[in-house]
């Protein structure tokens, strides 16, 4: 097991990508020091450890830094393969995880920032249609990969559970402002049940920001990447 001072996580508590890494660290019982970044006033450590993107999360292990949440998750699996492995062993199942991880981060999760920035109702409705389609696909993916069990990973929380699970809170925050329910149990029964279930798991609960924190983050996002002009 890694020593506490050996692993540091640079993050902001409101960020789903940061929560994702915290969720993984918690599952793997890896001790770490958490360092909160003020995104309006980025630290020298952030600039030196992530010179390319200058964003969180950054995992610092000794004197090395690892950036991008999905890369960090795979790194954690590589350094602690026996402690709650996230990726499954078979290459095809791993490919399936990586495919859906890419889908979540490039096609699904960005819809929520689009929703935040879109003011016109017609635009919002169009985004909702995309969210409905995305959850339809993920419902199918969950049914296929869970094999009747509770998680994408089967009996145990796996890679996709962490990738998507960490997004639930922010999605709900945006949903509440837009009269929508991403994980509606009528529309997507399995995904809805899954979302409720995983949100209450201790390893994710302790990596989930509260409403006040999200309100501040939301205000910051509106200032930094404002809604589109109509």
């Amino acid at each position: 097991m890694a020593k506490e001072s050996e692993i540091k996580l640079l993050g902001t508590i409101a960020s789903s990508y940061v929560n994702r890494v915290q969720f993984a660290l918690n599952l793997k019982s890896i001790n770490y020091e958490y360092i909160e970044e003020d995104l309006a006033n980025k630290s020298k450590l952030l600039f030196t450890s992530n010179p390319v993107y200058k964003r969180v999360p950054v995992l610092i292990h000794g004197d090395k830094s690892i950036c991008e949440s999905q890369v960090i998750l795979e790194y954690l699996d590589d350094i602690q393969p026996d402690s709650h492995p996230l990726l499954p062993p078979a290459p095809l199942d791993r490919a399936n995880c990586r495919f859906w991880a890419s889908y979540i981060d490039t096609k699904f999760f960005p819809l929520y920032d689009e929703m935040r920035r879109t003011r016109r109702q017609a635009g919002k409705e169009a985004i909702k249609e995309q969210m409905i389609e995305a959850t339809r696909l993920l419902e199918e993916a969950l049914i296929k990969s869970s094999n009747g069990k509770a998680y994408f990973g089967g009996d145990e929380i796996g890679f996709l559970d962490v990738m998507l699970g960490s997004c639930i809170r922010w999605m709900k925050f945006i949903d509440d402002l837009n009269d929508f329910d991403t994980f509606d149990e009528v529309r997507v029964p399995e995904l809805g049940k899954w979302a409720k279930n995983i949100s209450s798991h201790e390893a994710l609960k302790s990596a989930t920001p509260d409403k006040e924190t999200l309100d501040v983050f939301f205000a910051g996002a509106n200032a930094h990447r404002p809604p589109y002009d109509d």
Binding site: H61, I66, E68, V71, I72, Y75, L92, A95, F99, Y103
Partner: protein, 219 residues
């Protein structure tokens, strides 16, 4: 015998990297060339979500997204020519830079070639900044993966193969030897790798293809 099929186009850099990986590992495969303006029912069946190439079909099961496919190939045919390194930190670095390449460098390079006017100027500046980072990665290294080539070289292979055709179409030299000595040396080394050299298409054909795309884009 295992059945491996690759759906692709002959000019796509994302398809090419899969051809390279299959050839490097001596994996017998069939390439099915798609007309993207008229996608086959098979392609739509194997990649219903994105409807894009490349798609690898292995024993009737499809794998999509080129970086996902590369890792699948590496993990399935792991005894010949391993692509990703063993060390976790090196693996993380290669995964990070491969994503950076696909998300930032490739789009800006291709964008620079296809755009015009002010957009082209901006794309040029962005591309040069990105290339400087890759140049730095190559300092004191023969390949992006280190002493010998690997995953990251395959991921950036498009830069070796496509940069000259793209430069001709743009009418400007981006990858010049004074500004990017490491990249230019790497480019030559990469293209000399036998499995890469043998898969190298005719440069004139690539130039014609990109010129056609640029003229057709009307931007």
């Amino acid at each position: 015998m295992e059945k491996v099929k690759l759906f692709g186009t002959w000019s796509s850099p994302f398809v090419k990297r899969i051809v390279w990986a299959l050839n490097l590992k001596n994996i017998e495969h069939e390439v099915i060339y798609e007309d993207l303006a008229n996608k086959s029912p098979e392609l739509l069946k194997y990649n219903p979500i994105h409807k894009k190439v490349p798609v690898l079909v292995h024993n009737e099961i499809s794998i999509c997204e080129s970086l996902v496919i590369l890792q699948y190939i590496d993990e399935t045919w792991k005894n010949t020519c391993p692509l990703l390194p063993k060390d976790p930190l090196d693996r993380a670095k290669e995964r990070f830079w491969a994503r950076f390449g696909d998300e930032e460098v490739l789009p800006s390079f291709f964008g620079y070639v296809m755009k015009k006017g002010k957009d082209q100027e901006e794309a040029k500046e962005t591309t040069l900044a990105h290339l400087k980072r890759i140049e730095q990665l190559l300092s004191e290294k023969k390949f992006l993966s280190g002493e010998s080539f690997g995953f990251l070289d395959i991921a950036f292979g498009w830069l070796a193969e496509y940069s000259h055709p793209l430069e001709v179409v743009a009418g400007l030299k981006l990858l010049d030897e004074d500004s990017f000595p490491n990249l230019c040396a790497w480019k030559d080394r990469f293209l000399e790798i036998p499995a890469i050299k043998e898969s190298w298409p005719d440069q004139e054909t690539l130039i014609a293809k990109f010129q056609e795309s640029k003229d057709g884009s009307g931007k």
